[in-house]
């Protein structure tokens, strides 16, 4: 397993697409900072009585889908690029134990995604806090030490998307098909449930992957009262424990299904 893991790690860091994904993550941090910088310029120009109603979405939340999508694509490519170029066969000749190969891939992808996710979330948080300074902006007051559990959960969700991407890649064996599936999970389904009759939109929104970290974080979680569906919906319906169970299911169920398919099918 260690041998396979070091090979998968080498595969990830020896292709350009990995660095493109990481550049997109860095770009998300920069864009988040620019939004806040712009927002602060507006805030400073407002008369004091209007400053009270001034709101800024926490950028680590707002930019998160971009990071989740980027690492979801990394997970997809980890396996679909092997199918596209035919290297999955040489990989399986070297490691015939398919479960081991898939586990090694998952571990390597998860490590990169977790590191990138945490780096993006914490960098965005710290940079935007520095830009906000001591201005009295709601949702931008808690110090990093207090907010850390919630931030860690946001970073973790990035790794979950990467695992889902990997699983979709195994299932579809197609880069395009798997990326479309990740986009559907991240944007299309959360937005589509808008059209369901109440209260189903809100209920289903609660179990959408983007909504889970803040429900697990409980009181520390961000609430977007105006947005009840979509990738930025933060509706606290589930208790932290049930939200954690749901998040675990997003890791276990797709990967387990992928493992079954990967073992069963001809390469």
């Amino acid at each position: 397993m260690i041998a396979s893991l070091s090979a998968e790690w080498l595969k990830i860091r020896s292709v350009r697409s990995t660095y493109v994904v990481l550049a997109v993550v860095a770009l998300a941090v920069v864009i988040g900072a620019l939004f806040v910088w712009q927002g602060m310029a507006v805030f400073d120009g407002l008369p004091p009585e209007r400053r009270e109603n001034f709101r800024v979405i926490p950028m680590e939340e707002y930019m998160l889908p971009m990071v989740q999508l980027a690492l979801g694509v990394l997970g997809v490519l980890a396996i679909t690029s092997e199918y596209a170029h035919g290297t999955v066969r040489s990989s399986l000749v070297a490691v015939p134990a398919r479960g081991t190969l898939l586990a090694a891939k998952a571990a390597a992808v998860a490590a990169v995604a977790l590191a990138a996710g945490q780096a993006a979330v914490f960098a965005t948080f710290l940079v935007t806090r520095a830009l906000v300074g001591d201005r009295p902006i709601p949702d931008h007051g808690a110090p990093v030490a207090q907010q850390a559990p919630q931030l860690l959960l946001l970073g973790l969700s990035v790794a979950v998307f990467a695992m889902v991407g990997l699983a979709f890649g195994v299932a579809t064996r197609s880069t395009a098909g798997a990326i479309v599936s990740v986009v559907a999970l991240l944007f299309v389904i959360p937005a589509g449930i808008t059209y369901l009759p109440a209260p189903w939109g809100t209920r289903l929104s609660a179990v959408m992957l983007p909504n889970l970290p803040d429900q697990i974080a409980g009181a520390l979680g961000w609430r977007s009262e105006e947005v009840v569906v979509g990738p930025w919906a933060r509706v606290p319906v589930l208790s932290p424990v049930w939200a954690a169970v749901a998040l675990a299911a997003y890791i276990v169920v797709p990967l387990a299904a992928a493992a079954v398919l990967f073992r069963r099918r001809d390469a």
Binding site: A3, S4, S6, A7, E8, L10, K11, S14, V15, R16, S17, S81, E82, H85, G86, T87, R89, S90, S91, L92, V93, A94, V95, P96, A97, D266, A267
Partner: protein
């Protein structure tokens, strides 16, 4: 030793391999011949555990390939030379495979040297010519210094120097007592390389015997092959 027993492999309604049995013995080069679509590559994939047989079995050294730990030390295979990530360097491609079986970077460097890719090992494999990719594939097959080698059309795209090199390499590996199974459509080359031939058509065994028994004195392997496979050509040119 490679043993294929009563092997059947179906893909939907296509019968790729249809009750095939043969053995590949150590100490000689065995040529694996047959028309396009005869089932040679499919047989190799089943032997390597990549495709599951519909029925029958394929064993290497008496075991299923999939049950082997660190198999590169026992079996080396080249299935498709173009199967490389175009953006990854030749060296990284080999090193990733090597690492899975606990093979170190020194062995990788030695093989890069052996197959004549030392000057371009750090270049992206996507920039390689067909012959360079074949050399890379052969390096991958030799990584673990295996006792069994299985190469699917390794001569395709090689220059004359490379063709002779492969021939001498295969012959010397067989002379060391290794098992070598080699598929090719180049009859004149096969006549120079192989000691033994397994010829299949439409997934069935047509001939299995020493080269000198299959080719009459003074005749060519090409004539003998065309005669033997005349009834089994599925994808012949219109005439």
């Amino acid at each position: 030793m490679i043993e294929v027993r009563d092997l059947v492999k179906r893909y939907g309604s296509t019968v790729a391999v249809d009750g095939l049995s043969f053995q590949v013995r150590p100490g000689q080069v065995t040529g694996f011949l047959g028309p396009n679509g005869a089932g040679k590559s499919t047989t190799m994939r089943v032997v390597l555990g990549l495709d599951a047989p519909t029925s029958g079995e394929a064993l290497i050294g008496g075991r299923r390939y999939a049950a082997t730990r660190r198999p590169l030390h026992q079996v080396g295979a080249l299935l498709d030379a173009s199967a490389v990530h175009p953006g990854r360097s030749a060296y990284d491609h080999l090193l990733a495979l090597a690492r899975t079986n606990g093979i170190g970077p020194r062995r990788v460097a030695a093989l890069v040297e052996l197959v004549g890719l030392a000057g371009v090992a750090r270049k992206r494999a996507g920039t390689f010519s067909l012959g360079m990719k074949q050399r890379l594939g052969i390096a991958a097959a030799l990584l673990g210094d295996p006792a069994v080698l299985m190469l699917d059309e390794p001569v395709n795209g090689l220059d004359p120097e490379g063709v002779r090199w492969i021939r001498e390499l295969m012959r010397s590996l067989a002379a060391e007592g290794r098992t070598v199974l080699l598929s090719s459509h180049l009859m004149s080359e096969m006549a120079l390389t192989a000691d033994h031939l397994v010829i299949i058509g439409r997934g069935r065994l047509i001939a299995d015997g020493p080269l000198r028994d299959l080719v009459p004195d003074g005749g060519s392997l090409e004539d003998a092959y065309l005669r033997l496979t005349a009834g089994s050509v599925e994808h012949g040119a219109g005439r």
